[in-house]
């Protein structure tokens, strides 16, 4: 299971970085989404993927006796997912707006010389 997840996360990072390096705005967006999911899976893998061993200490014991599922990475992922959800939704709206204004999907077209404001 861990090996599979490691492969998946490598694939997510590779695909994400490849897409971010493209010139198209939609691909940039997809790349950002894949990268953030890759980071989440990375943190998930770090927290020891074990089946049926919650981080609860028995009443007779002082410390954990065996491998347990670390709860902290899961809390971290939860935070990271919420954050990346917010960022992604902002990115979608921004890119849609830019597409409506510039009428192009190409990042190289975003160089209007017009400026001047307060």
């Amino acid at each position: 299971m861990e090996l599979l997840l490691v492969l998946v996360l490598g694939l997510l990072y590779a695909a994400g970085i490849y897409l971010v390096l493209r010139r198209s705005m939609v691909r940039l967006l997809l790349g950002i989404m894949l990268l953030s999911n890759g980071a989440n899976v990375l943190i998930f893998v770090i927290g020891n993927i074990t089946k049926g061993s919650p981080p609860v200490i028995g009443s007779m014991e002082k410390v954990f006796q065996e491998v347990y599922a670390d709860p902290i990475p899961q809390a971290l992922i939860l935070t990271a997912i919420v954050i990346s959800f917010g960022l992604t939704s902002f990115a979608i709206v921004l890119l849609k707006r830019v597409y409506a204004l510039v009428d192009s999907d190409d990042l190289d077209d975003l160089n209007t010389p017009e400026e001047e404001d307060i």
Partner: protein, 503 residues
């Protein structure tokens, strides 16, 4: 020492923003609230600064979880100095933006978002937990996205795309670094990490992890190969927003670098060489970029990049004197860069444009304002008694001591080009006659007097602070000395964080 007042600057900003959200679309109320909130924030920051100066490093354990397990907030000298400077800049910008912004932008929530941004900055400076630092970074970038796009002009949105893409990428690198760091050490508390990282056998893995942090913070602070987003986006938003960004946002990257590379990844020879190469190229490319631009805010953006290199060099040399120079430069830079963009906004009001070839004759028409601006510009260049001069003394001294002659050369070239660019700007904008072909409109003259005062007052206030930094350099050197001592030897920080048990 445990002290819950550490959180006060964060809460002041948070509540200001929330109350402003309740007064949605009431722009006049929001303006008063913004100025009032910033003023209270400034006083709170002063008080916190005094307490830390008196009784050393303060910490606060959230929800009374003992140190390595819960989230901890730490106020050491570096943090409170930056919180204080941020509060001063926040006060000045909120005064300026109460008249320097269009009503349209205020209607759509400029002020609350601005205060959320400042809250994120305070939090990033005060937290002692690396994941919490990430969360505050996200608070900062999401607020800055909104501020950058507010108004929705084409150039603004185009700049925002580049800004957004690079900043999200930086966050991803940072998050990946945190994940790997947690995997290696099993801790997120920065003081605890500092101890645990020394026990790790696999040094190569630590090196790779530190590179993730370097890239993440490098994008944020706009260093050499990663800075292209900055000059292509910072000239698009209104000047009040650009002032907040230019003065404070890149400096958070420098702060995070100072913190992480002094506490967790103490730089080895490889990282130091890498940082030094980055610093030299950052100075040179920033300076060369500033040479060719004619729009005031565009070359100011390149000057930000150039001067980030000065501080990077200080971090690269990583000795007490070098860090003193870097920290002093950081203190000076926050004040001056914020003020520079406010000056750019004022010039836009006076001359109707920011293109230097179309401007002229400001000195003849506004001699007093011109002299005020001259103080800001001279401080930036570092004419001896003013603030930009003193940190360079330390940087030069340490660069010669460590035989970093490339850095010395870059420092000299960077300073000279800054001088040349600013002198050129002075000639073009203030001394030259208005070119007859230019059709400029003066937006400043028809303003009512209270608006004129509110526009010039923040620049005057910040110029006073800069003058204080320059003319009373001894006090600042003392502060920088304490900070660099704490950075070089983090045992005081670690003891303060891990020594505070509640039982």
């Amino acid at each position: 020492m445990i002290d819950n007042h550490i959180l006060a600057p964060i809460f002041v900003q948070l509540f200001t923003a929330i109350i402003q959200l309740i007064c949605w679309r009431k722009t006049v109320t929001q303006r008063y609230l913004s100025v009032g909130g910033s003023l209270i924030g400034l006083m709170v920051a002063f008080r916190l600064f005094g307490r830390v100066q008196e009784s050393g490093i303060l910490t606060m354990n959230a929800a009374n979880w003992d140190a390595p397990f819960g989230i901890v907030f730490v106020a050491d000298m570096l943090s409170v100095t930056l919180v204080l400077l941020t509060s001063i800049a926040c006060f000045a910008v909120s005064l300026f933006s109460s008249v320097g912004l269009s009503r349209q932008r205020m209607l759509y929530g400029y002020f609350p978002i601005f205060h959320f941004l400042i809250m994120g900055l305070h939090g990033a400076f005060l937290t002692g937990d690396i994941f919490n630092l990430y969360v505050y970074f996200e608070v900062i970038i999401i607020s800055s996205f909104v501020l950058m796009t507010l108004g929705g002009r084409k150039a603004q949105l185009e700049g925002a795309v580049k800004y957004m893409a690079m900043n999200i990428l930086a966050s991803m690198f940072f998050l990946t670094g945190i994940g790997m760091l947690y995997g290696i050490t099993g801790s997120l508390n920065m003081a605890d990490l500092s101890i645990r990282i020394q026990e790790v056998q696999n040094k190569a893995l630590i090196g790779i992890t530190s590179c993730f942090f370097l890239i993440g913070f490098g994008i944020k602070s706009a260093v050499f190969p990663l800075y292209y987003w900055l000059p292509s986006s910072y000239h698009t938003p209104p000047s009040a927003v650009a002032a907040t960004f230019g003065g404070l946002l890149t400096k958070v990257g420098i702060y995070a670098m100072l913190r992480v590379f002094s506490l967790i990844f103490v730089p080895d020879d490889f990282i130091r060489t890498l940082l030094m190469v980055i610093a030299v190229f950052t100075i040179l490319t920033g300076a060369l970029g500033a040479l060719i631009k004619t729009n005031i805010r565009r070359f100011f953006s390149y000057l930000i990049v150039c001067h980030i290199g000065f501080m990077m060099g200080g971090i690269a040399m990583f000795s007490k004197v070098a860090l003193m120079g870097a920290v002093f430069y950081l203190i000076h830079d926050i004040m001056v860069k914020t003020n520079m963009f406010l000056v750019a906004g004022l010039i836009r009001q006076l001359g109707g444009t920011m293109d230097m070839s179309k401007l002229g004759g400001l000195y003849r028409n506004y001699p007093k304002i011109s002299l005020l601006i001259a103080i800001v510009l001279f401080s930036l260049v570092g004419i001896p008694p003013l603030s930009g001069f003193w940190p360079k003394v330390f940087l030069f001294q340490e660069a010669f001591a460590q035989h970093q002659y490339f850095y010395v050369a870059a420092l000299i070239i960077g300073s000279f080009i800054t001088l040349y660019v600013i002198a050129n700007m002075w000639v073009q904008v203030f001394w030259k006659n208005i070119p007859p072909s230019a059709e400029t409109e003066n937006l400043f003259a028809p303003m009512p007097p209270y608006k004129k005062i509110l526009m010039v007052l923040p620049i005057g206030l910040m110029a006073l602070v800069t003058l204080y930094i320059g003319l009373n350099a001894e006090a600042i050197v003392k502060i920088a000395d304490i900070i660099s001592t704490q950075l070089i030897d983090p045992s005081a920080y670690i003891d303060a964080v891990l020594g505070n048990k509640t039982d």
